[in-house]
């Protein structure tokens, strides 16, 4: 076996080690490269920024702990922005395994902003039914969520004054890691009950949601850690996402270098094989 062939069949644990180191070092020694703001993230930011005080903003945290690294910073940044603009925040989740995480995100940011549960915001928790919950909320929010996550009756909560169903929502954002997520909120929510919708998702899912963005079905898209970092930059509160961008930069670069090396070895091996074939004939 030639050197090139050996390198092409390298033990994948070596690659894992390279990626591990490329993630670890930038986290320990951050560089802080400037982050360019994309129009898709600006779409969500601008809409929230222009919401009049007291508008109804719905944030659906449709993810579980697996997607925490990417969607947690997005949720924190959006909530900080919304609380800063003094809009009424209705938070919820369509993923049962994400309920605890969503609760901690909402209560943590609300506490930070000095907001009062039930008056400035409410966390509705999770209700069974997946996408059907959106339909139920479209008909009557209080049937879908008779009580909030803490068990308090939703009817009569000051934060929900004048809100009967999804038609009364000014803006909704779904941070989705799969199904039900952004697409479900478009099909069963915006399409039927006519409110403006924005989306956030993991980096892997982002290319799949671009058709929704291009057709105006969502007015903005926060994709992965990069999107979260852009949002943090926009609100001027740099957090975990901005810190993670250096690590992401290093790993992307490492993958590019690995791919380049692999191709160099591939072409070397091919040339050797051709030479051998020529000599053989």
């Amino acid at each position: 076996m030639t050197f090139a062939e050996r390198m092409l069949r390298i033990d994948r644990r070596i690659i894992f080690l390279v990626i591990g180191l490329c993630t670890l070092f930038p986290l320990l020694f951050p560089v802080g490269l400037p982050i360019r703001i994309s129009s898709e993230v600006r779409g969500v930011f601008d809409y929230i920024d222009n919401l009049p005080e007291g508008s109804v903003f719905l944030l659906s945290l449709d993810f579980d702990p697996a997607s925490k690294p990417e969607l947690y910073p997005q949720a924190i940044a959006i909530l900080r922005h919304a609380f800063n603009k003094n809009v009424r925040v209705i938070a919820m989740t369509l993923w049962v395994s994400g309920t605890g995480l969503a609760d901690s995100i909402v209560s943590q940011t609300a506490k930070e902003a000095g907001k009062e549960n039930g008056k400035d915001y409410v966390f509705l928790g999770w209700s069974p039914g997946g996408s059907a919950v959106i339909l139920n909320m479209g008909q009557d929010l209080y049937t879908a969520f008779p009580a909030d996550y803490g068990g308090k009756a939703t009817k009569g909560l000051p934060v929900l004054a004048g809100v009967q169903n999804l038609r009364d929502v000014t803006y909704a954002v779904s941070l989705g890691a799969g199904n039900p997520g952004v697409e479900a909120w478009y099909v069963f929510g915006k399409d039927k009950y006519k409110f403006e919708l924005g989306g956030g998702c993991t980096g892997v899912m982002a290319p799949g949601l671009y058709p929704l963005l291009r057709s105006g079905q969502i007015n903005g898209l926060i994709g992965g850690l990069r999107g979260a970092a852009e949002y943090e930059t926009l609100i001027g509160q740099k957090g975990k996402a901005v810190a993670g961008m250096d690590a992401q930069s290093a790993t992307h670069l490492a993958i590019i270098v690995l791919v380049a090396i692999c191709n160099v070895f591939y072409f070397t091996m091919r040339r050797q094989q051709r030479r051998q074939e020529r000599m053989g004939s």
Binding site: S38, P69, S97, P207
Partner: protein
Amino acid sequence: MIALRRQLPLLITMVTGLVMAGQYYVPHPASEQLLTTVTKWLQIIGGFALVLGITSLFHVHAAKIRRKEAGWGYSLMLYAGMLGTIVVGLWNGGKESIDGAMTSFGWVYSYTLVPLQGTMFAILAFFIASAAYRSFRARSREAAVLLIAAVIVMMGRVPLGEYLLPISGDLSSWILNVLNASVRRAILIGVSLGAVALSFKIIFGVERSYLGGGKE
């Protein structure tokens, strides 16, 4: 008996299929109510089906423990983990926190589920790298085009890439917004037509192998 096993399910499929397809075109509140009711039924059936699933899970692992098959200790762990979580969950009424204080169920959630799921998702980054190393080779002209596009998008999505190659940001946006979106739309059109055709076949009983294969 054959009628019960074959004809009745086909009839139910046809009637419900046609009704639910028609529901899409009816804006009347009754139609929306029908959709909600049917979805609730689905949830209830799903709840019962979960019993079926858990029975299967318990059965498979009980057999492993009984026969002391290789790795039967893991099956024991599964029993302990599942029953333990159920007990703790019931004890705390399924709440991870009460009035801001973490419950024991919350502890299980925060210190086992969250890190375990995070770990599984994080492995993706390592696997992407190893898969890219193994497969991203410019074997043909088409593969070379894919390779170049991938490198541009990888550069354009991170600050370091944009710093080293400033045009990569705009180029990657163009690739994602124009090339990627249009190709995906094309695939989606094909997928949707396939799904509609399959639905027609199922509604009208042309495709029946999902009922248990075979012909009458």
